[in-house]
Symmetry: C2
Subunit: 249 residues, 2 copies
Amino acid sequence: MELLDLDRHSVIPLYYQIQQHLLQDIRTGKLKPGKLLPSEEVISKRLRVSRMTARQALKSLCSLGVAHSQRGKGTFVSEVKLEKNIREVRSFTEEMEARGSRPHSKVISSEVVPAEAEAEAGEALHLQPEERVIRIRRVRVADTVPMGVETTCLPEALCPDLLDKFDPRNSLYRMLSQVYGIHIVQADEVVEAGLANTEEARLLGVPKGSPVFLFTRTSYVEGGKAVEYVKSTFRGDRYKITNRLGAVQ
Amino acid sequence: MELLDLDRHSVIPLYYQIQQHLLQDIRTGKLKPGKLLPSEEVISKRLRVSRMTARQALKSLCSLGVAHSQRGKGTFVSEVKLEKNIREVRSFTEEMEARGSRPHSKVISSEVVPAEAEAEAGEALHLQPEERVIRIRRVRVADTVPMGVETTCLPEALCPDLLDKFDPRNSLYRMLSQVYGIHIVQADEVVEAGLANTEEARLLGVPKGSPVFLFTRTSYVEGGKAVEYVKSTFRGDRYKITNRLGAVQ
DNA sequence: GGTCCCCAGTTGTCTAGACAACTGGGGTGT
DNA sequence: ACACCCCAGTTGTCTAGACAACTGGGGACC
């Protein structure tokens, strides 16, 4: 805390600089679960920012789920096993890196098909039947263990030469962001429970009929335009979802 | 909007009164998905509150997932199918009522057992082996359809005469809150995919081996004390989880 | 010993402003 | 026709303060 000096001329907001610094202290264990974070007053005085800015830094930690506040007492670091599956949109790559695993993908197929051949995707992406979608089918692997099968659909119009440039070792999200300026900021996800079919069982190395998660995700850029539709099947024996629910402000 | 006059002497915060009013307009359809909400400036002027207060009302709608903001453009009502499984801690009863179904429960068993007989629960609730837990096993029903089997464990010390007073037609959460002053404000939930065993299959009226969700939830009161440990099995064919992921502030 | 009260510390709410950054549209100039 | 600029409207960030509400502890009083 004392070591941090803010860059007041940076484009990065002050509250965000403070939030990141506290987050680092939490991640490295310098601030332990159950312990008090510096109070709004203290942050405000020490870093010479207004109390509202200090407060915004602390509140943003609360909305990430890594802290919680109590009136009259203070703001505490929450008990967290793993900081995963919190509210942010994350690619498989980011998710696995956050869990400390090495992510990896095996492409099964990649092709361009008319939207009418992928009806659900076409509808979710608001495409006309004759428009074309890029469809990439991948097995997602974490540390050599196959975790899931994923089919991603993107409108061809948005990234026409994606398949030429796409490097399966890289994160698709990272590429969309860096090459095409497509920044996914929101996603709706539906999770269902199901059983592995023959093909999925073969690809994942589990018996047919094993329990699996079925994810359906539609991703949006700022402005609400849908840019990605993903259906995936993940192993029920190796994958779990954790979620922290809270009283919403 | 014009009709709302704020009660400035109420204990209910102004921003919350505004939030509730906007929420109602959204729910009744007066404000439709995709349409603009009144801007911070407009709310501020019309209701004579400071811009920060108006802003807090709009931000709280965003953190509920029912709206999203875009710099330079405004705050929009989000496309939502159902306002379910958003970030709030909800009991089954509240969840079903929000979905428009009539919730109902059938108690299979209710008893007091030593914590060592419920090892996971004892650990999650930080109990000594000799302390006792109240264990209630219920089938959860929505509109006559059995949806899941749920086992709830609570420390006996917290609500010793619960079993005498408990009315299965009522929400357990509501009762904990009203009778014992136990207000659950946070919960950690783990979701796994599994298969129905023989007993679950019978209770739920599905074939053995059907896909199910396995939920494990630990609930906390303000202060971080764990007060409830729940394991439940829900039908995969009738239940799905929806989640909106977003860029966290 | 116990009860009550007060006080310092903390978060919650609210005000009244300021400037920055971005959007979208209209007008001007080329 | 096109590029550019400017402007009004909007959200994002930030300041400096105020009072309310709650917590926990210590001290005064009985």
